[in-house]
Amino acid sequence: MMYLLKENFDKAREALAGAYAVVVPDEVLPPKDALFPRSETLYETDRRTGEARAAGAGGKTLLFGVRPCDARAIGNLDAAFLESGYVDANYAQRRENATIVALACAQIPSPACFCDSMGGSPHEAPEADVVLTEAADGSGYALDFQSEKGSAVAEIWKAADLIGPMPAHLEKAPAPTCTLKVNKVPDLAQKLTAAFEDGLWERLAEACLGCGCCTYVCPTCYCFDIGLENRGGTADTFRCWDSCMFPGYTQMAGGHNPRWSKTQRLRNRYLHKLAYFDERYGRTLCVGCGRCICRCPQGLDITRAVEWGERL
């Protein structure tokens, strides 16, 4: 096991800046932006011939300090964009070029965290290339290099003399436990789907403003819109994040809207997170990061839908 002293933490990040564009996610927005940008050009079209030329999707990036829940969320994005059905070319290129350095949670970052109720752990990030886990005495980080991309990071740190073997007397601190405990029954997906017509959905959605904030801060919301920017002789087709909480999301040109009410939209969002994605990809989409709970201006709370499973 290799080891990084805490005093070398910033230097370790800086040492990577030569080889990668280093992105340090903040706590508000998830790191998905680096792999699935809020807006990106897909292709440029010659308006006269209709000829379309694909735009590039960036160079080598390194996400530094990704939380385990967010790393797990990237695993879910991989399932949707890469592993089942069509491969999304832009996501594939950015993902291939991305190295993920995860920082295990030494303390639970927020009272709304509930990753360990959703099958995750504040200390485990199998999707990451490197995981930094604080040592029990707080002096530094134990380093798990989990892939070839991770080994490349190790080489850079070794060359800069920033890491060394972990002293024998040290061990990883035990994983903390989330303060928010949510009881997720094993057959939650089936139970919630069967309760499609239940009146609780309306009560859950009652206070919703339809602002879509929950979808922007969510590390696993990956819905997008495709639009167009005219540049005269050419036009750029771009995609950008969209939100299933907006009525226009499903509105058809002829006027019909299959999800015209906010109850239908909230129910669809929660069921996608807790049932539909699971049915399609075998993984629960919600990773329990708690951002949507903290950021909702109306205090809507997805764990109410999770816990509802107990009573169904």
């Binding site: 379309a52 059905g85 819109d225 058809m252």
Partner: protein
């Protein structure tokens, strides 16, 4: 489909435009190189883009050696832009997307095609297929209705090609000077014709109200849900099951549809 990037359209051009009704045109498309963009199965979809305006998903109503055709009603900004185009103008095409009518499972059956308004467009791809593979299917009937004679699409097929080769039953909603055909709504006309459900499948597409009432008629006549097949329309952006908006429960209409039997739809949430 572009194998490296399924969202990238192929450069195509319009090689023919047919005015079907005051607000429906049929566009015949081929690649800038003079080839067919792809060979769709009946019922599959194409994402058609107008350079500088945007793109939308349409059913493919017909195909030939070196072209595909879509019949498009003018209802919004993109279809408005499409309707302004002329022969020779550039468009983008990507696809084919979605499943298709179950041409194998339907073999040996009598087929009843029921369409309302522009809803005949997707069904026409299967009618053409059944006529091309005539020996594989039993008796063929099409029952089609629109508001007025001016709103009937595919008049050349309805009054020329199809009556010689299959039962062709046309109705308009209200009487009109010079029309001596049937007058009345589609659901009542289905019952009036008394099609037997025995060994027969019904392929149904039209406006929501027509679908709802036609289903009631078909169930009353004894048609099983497994033998009623429809094709759905949803707002779509990607066509490859990623962008999210065309889901019904865990199914995506762009991937798992647009063709569903009523038995399959019964298993899904009523959000379409």
């Amino acid at each position: 489909m572009n194998a490296a990037n399924p969202l990238l359209p192929a450069a195509c051009r319009i090689i023919g435009i047919t005015d079907e009704t005051p607000d429906v045109k049929t566009f015949r498309l081929q690649t800038q190189g003079g080839a067919k963009p792809f060979a769709p199965m009946p019922g599959q979809l194409a994402m058609i883009s107008v350079p500088g305006a945007g793109e939308a998903m349409f059913s493919i109503t017909a195909q030939g050696e070196d072209w595909i055709e879509s019949s498009i009603k003018r209802v919004g900004a993109l279809t408005e832009a499409l309707h302004e185009l002329s022969e020779g103008d550039a468009v983008g095409v990507r696809g084919p997307y979605g499943n298709h009518f179950p041409v194998d499972a339907l073999k040996g059956k009598d087929l009843l095609f029921v369409g309302g308004g522009i809803g005949l467009a997707p069904i026409r791809s299967l009618i053409r297929y059944a006529l091309e593979h005539r020996e594989d299917y039993g008796k063929l009937d099409v029952l089609y209705g629109s508001r007025t004679t001016a709103d009937l699409v595919f008049k050349e097929d309805l009054f020329g090609n199809w009556p010689q080769r299959m039962g062709t039953h046309i109705t308009i909603d209200v009487p009109e000077d010079g029309w001596d055909g049937h007058v009345g709504f589609v659901p009542a006309y289905i019952e009036e014709k008394g099609f037997s459900p025995k060994g027969r499948a019904c392929i149904l597409c039209g406006p929501p109200i027509m679908i709802r009432l036609s289903l009631a008629s078909l169930y009353k006549m004894g048609f099983e849900k497994e033998n009623i097949i429809t094709t759905l329309e949803m707002r779509m952006k990607c066509g490859i099951g990623k962008c999210g908006r065309c889901n019904i429960g865990s199914k995506y209409v762009c991937l798992d549809g647009p063709v569903f039997s009523m038995a399959e739809l019964d298993e899904l949430p009523p959000e379409h």
